[in-house]
């Protein structure tokens, strides 16, 4: 693919720029692009959000909650007993061919699988933040299954970080209907649109900060070209409390021991700040949405 | 499709030139169908249709199964189109070809979506047992317009088919009777949808160039096609002109009228073939009626 190549002069330009703390779009090494956030766009979904990095990556996430059965793993009694009381989260990431021509046909299969597994691992483990026990309806039998589908609509680098941000916003936006358990164990879903609750623990859902090692330094929020110049990528998942919820090196290349510690530190501090900003934006979104609900809501892309 | 199956420039231009003069390679007029032969039987639900050199075989079979959860009181109709390299040389065996999708989707729409066969009558015990009717459609030889031939084969096979008679013996048990014991029951056919395909070549202001029932050479060079599915009540069940040369609305309306008259003739042929086949079967049944065997007892949960 010609799009995955970078010329030596471009490479040199980027490496030197990073060295001088000045990137092609004027940012410093640790500056994030502006994040534009919208919620509640897909009425078929229980929750949805769209995040954009200005003039670049665009991710849309739809969350659907459905009633499903609890899967019991019979091999380990102790573990099974815990799982019987929990709901489930199912994640899926899809890179649409709309975003980049390299995702056409079967081209996106590998990256879809890699991202899906990564997101699934983070959100399904104890670090996922969500209170899965609250999603259980009848222990051992029925629970809410939270389907999180992320769709990458435009590709301008740094997809993973944006996917996590969007998922967090979409989970905030998700309304789980109230349920009543009747005598014969039939689950009745409340008809009243106003009777809903938020998924507990959404604020502890981690976000990812991806650090790109270019030359001997590292940067955050890389563009497409910068990603091509990257030697090694480290994604650090951080939650609101500043805890590390996952670390993963992505792609080829290796990282020196000392640099690794430095990158983890930076990832954590940037992540915590970003979460604070995002939470502010989410609150603002609520106000905007309330305002919008009065008028007829028109298309998000058309309005943008 | 492999490059071998393509036509040379000479052939393309020749066929176009002859169509402009109103002649087709096989001496047909532009509105003529090729000779149609429908062979039904000897088994119930076995139909072989020949349209010129195009040959399609349809075979209906049935079994008792559980119904779909969302339709507990309806039988199930499965149309299975088998496209093999036998009739389509150079077929890519990996994923379904565009051609195959169009054929199977059009048949599904014509027969299933438009409820040509009564499915509610195929329910035996609600939520537990229904008849599943399966039509296997095999394409034996493709000399063009395989879709029309397939639609004739499918509906005539369904109209010819008879399922064994059953009696409900208990809450969850039924007895299936053999043909010797009780006469098998035909399916309830609500209407007979038939496909008529048009092929369009160059369309200019003064003269439209198009034919009915294109053969494979005509199919190869046409700039677009249109399939109209009409039934015996003069209802259009499916109309599919998926792109291709732009047409004026008058042409489309005219085509629908042509299709209506073609369908009438084809349905007459099917009825005749059914009569002949039924005559044969009734003779056979008279001979067998003396033998009385014990019915097979089926016991499934």
């Amino acid at each position: 693919m010609s799009s995955s190549l970078i010329s030596p002069s471009e490479l040199d330009y980027i490496i030197r720029g990073v060295d001088d703390n000045l990137r092609a779009d004027g940012r410093g090494r640790l500056d994030y692009r502006e994040v534009i956030l919208e919620t509640g766009l897909i009425f078929q979904a229980n929750g949805s959000a769209r995040c954009r990095l200005s003039k670049g990556t665009d991710v849309l996430v739809g969350v659907k909650v459905e009633i499903g059965s609890i899967e019991i793993d019979g091999t380990d009694e102790e573990v099974a007993a815990v799982k019987a009381k929990r709901g489930r989260v199912v994640c899926n990431v899809e890179c649409s061919p709309i975003a980049s021509q390299q995702f056409a046909g079967r081209g996106a299969d590998d990256i879809n699988n890699e991202l899906t597994q990564l997101v699934d691992r983070v959100l399904n483990g104890p670090q996922g933040g969500l209170n899965l026990e609250k999603l259980c309806i009848i222990p051992g039998e029925e629970c809410w299954v939270v389907y999180i589908d992320a769709l990458v609509l435009d590709y301008g680098g740094n997809i993973l970080d944006l996917i996590f941000m969007t998922i967090r916003a979409a989970l905030y936006n998700t309304r789980v209907p109230k349920t009543v358990i009747e005598e014969d164990k039939e689950v009745e879903i409340s008809d009243d649109v106003e009777e809903w609750e938020r998924i507990e623990g959404w604020e502890l859902v981690p976000i990812s900060i991806t650090l790109n090692k270019i030359g001997t330094r590292h940067i955050v929020d890389a563009t497409v070209l910068e990603e091509l110049a990257t030697k090694a990528k480290l994604s650090v998942m951080v939650n609101k409390n500043g805890k590390i919820c996952g670390i993963q090196k992505i792609g080829g290349g290796s990282i020196e021991h000392g640099l690794l510690n430095e990158m983890m530190q930076t990832g954590r501090s940037i992540g915590q700040n970003l979460i604070l900003n995002l939470d502010k934006m989410l609150q603002k979104e609520d106000e905007i949405n309330a305002e919008r609900a009065k008028n007829d809501k028109i298309g998000f892309f058309a309005a943008a | 499709m492999g490059k071998e199956a393509e036509l040379s420039t000479n052939e393309k231009e020749f066929i176009l030139a002859s169509l402009r003069e109103g002649i087709r390679l096989d001496n047909r007029e532009k509105l003529d169908f090729r000779s149609l032969q429908i062979l039904l039987g000897p088994d119930y639900g076995h139909s072989e249709v020949r349209l010129g050199d195009t040959k399609v075989l349809a075979k209906v079979s049935c079994e008792v199964t559980r119904p779909h959860l969302d339709r507990p009181s309806e039988g199930i109709l499965i149309l299975n189109t088998e496209i093999s390299p036998m009739a389509f040389p150079g077929l890519d065996m990996g994923r379904p070809s565009e051609e195959e999708i169009i054929i199977s989707r059009t048949l599904e729409k014509a027969i299933k979506r438009n409820h040509a066969i009564d499915l509610e009558g195929l329910c035996i015990i609600r939520e537990k047992k229904v008849w599943t009717i399966r039509v296997d459609i095999h394409f034996l030889d493709n000399d063009g317009n395989i879709l029309d031939a397939a639609s004739i084969a499918t509906i005539s096979a369904l109209a010819h088919f008879r399922r064994p008679e059953i009696t409900i013996t208990g809450e969850d048990t039924i007895t299936i009777h053999s043909a010797e014991q009780l006469n098998p029951v035909p399916l309830v056919v609500h209407h007979i949808p038939i496909c008529v395909t048009f092929a369009f070549f160059e369309i200019s202001e003064n003269k439209d160039l198009w034919v009915v029932d294109p053969n494979w050479q005509e199919e190869k060079i046409c700039q677009g096609d249109m399939t109209i599915v009409i039934n015996d009540h003069k209802e259009i069940c499916v109309l599919s002109k998926a792109g291709g040369v732009p047409l004026s609305m008058e042409t489309i309306i005219y085509c629908s009228k042509i299709a209506t008259s073609k369908v009438e003739i084809i349905i007459d042929d099917i009825r005749k073939a059914l009569e002949i086949a039924n005559d044969k079967n009734s003779n056979k049944n008279n001979n067998n009626s003396n033998k009385m065997d014990k019915g097979k007892r089926v016991n499934r949960d």
Binding site: - | E4, S8, N10, E13, F14, I23, D26
Partner: protein
């Protein structure tokens, strides 16, 4: 001496040959002392040469054979040509009469050519050329317009061997009628032909197609199929004179005809009888002048 058929054979049949010095053609294989057939077909023999004439449809190139091919690509200095064999044939730009580096043939993808196989080897892609051994075009080259019939190889071979006999006489006859027909028979199962009027080509196409499965009486066959044209022109002339004649030519040696007036029928009867011993050219001449007799 012609090849003559010996018997029908199937793969695995043994052929007993007395002579020791023999030539084996396609479909025969020597296995130690015996000769085994590897194809189903008719065993043919001429002196010490043996081969099996089979009804194969896939062409296997052999040097010196004439083929009709379709251009499917240009690579460097050669055309790639589909001749119906397992591999595409190569047609160098210089393999045309008077072709030079600067004076190249102008063929496009999809065009048909009539060519001769210059190199056939199972390990190399076949090569073809549009000249005879003397570097002359000799009928080879691009085939303009016209139509092509794909048929079995055997049929092509039959037509090809009868070419001189039928095709040429046919040609003559039709030319006299003002119908020009050009025919190129490829031994790769493709027959190209071209007439001025599309209608005539379709008559010829259908006649050829029908004749494929028929016996050796194809000569009559083709005549028969061209009957329509002959009759058409007859019809025209006679109708102008107010004479109508209906004719049915049976392949079993019987001809039926009918006219309104007995007198005319008798004239026709005698004319036909006379014509029986005539050459084809004379025959047509006679038909042409038939109106005068009336």
């Amino acid at each position: 001496m012609e090849f003559r058929s010996v018997r029908t054979v199937l793969p695995g049949d043994l052929v007993s040959v007395e002579a020791s010095d023999i030539i084996l053609g396609p479909g025969l294989m020597q296995n130690e002392e015996s000769i085994i057939c590897t194809k189903a077909g008719v065993l043919m023999k001429k002196e010490n040469s043996w081969f099996i004439d089979s009804d194969q449809k896939r062409y296997i190139p052999a040097t010196g054979e004439n083929v009709v091919g379709r251009i499917i690509g240009k690579v460097g200095e050669v055309y790639r040509v589909d001749i119906g064999s397992a591999h595409q044939a190569l047609l160098p730009f210089l393999a045309f009469e008077n072709a030079t580096k600067k004076n190249r043939p102008a063929l496009n993808i999809g065009d048909l050519v009539y060519a001769r196989i210059s190199l056939a080897n199972r390990d190399i892609d076949p090569e073809i050329q549009c000249t005879n051994l003397d570097n002359k075009a000799d009928g080879f080259g691009e085939l303009k317009k016209g139509f092509m019939l794909k048929c079995s190889l055997r049929y092509c071979r039959r037509l090809f061997s009868l070419k001189t006999q039928i095709m040429e006489s046919l040609d003559k006859k039709l030319t006299q009628k003002g119908i020009e027909i050009e025919v190129a028979i490829g031994l790769n199962g493709r027959i190209w032909f071209c007439t001025e009027k599309v209608k005539h080509a379709i008559v010829f196409y259908n006649a050829l197609k029908e004749a494929e499965t028929m016996s050796d009486a194809e000569l009559l066959e083709i005549l028969f199929s061209l009957k329509t044209q002959i009759m058409e022109s007859l019809d025209k002339k006679l109708t102008q004179k107010g004479i109508e004649i209906e004719v049915a030519i049976g392949l079993n040696g019987r001809i039926w005809f009918c006219t309104e007036k007995v007198k005319h029928a008798i004239v026709f009867y005698n004319a036909l009888k006379e014509a029986e011993t005539m050459s084809d050219a004379e025959l047509l001449e006679m038909f042409k002048n038939l109106d005068r007799k009336f």
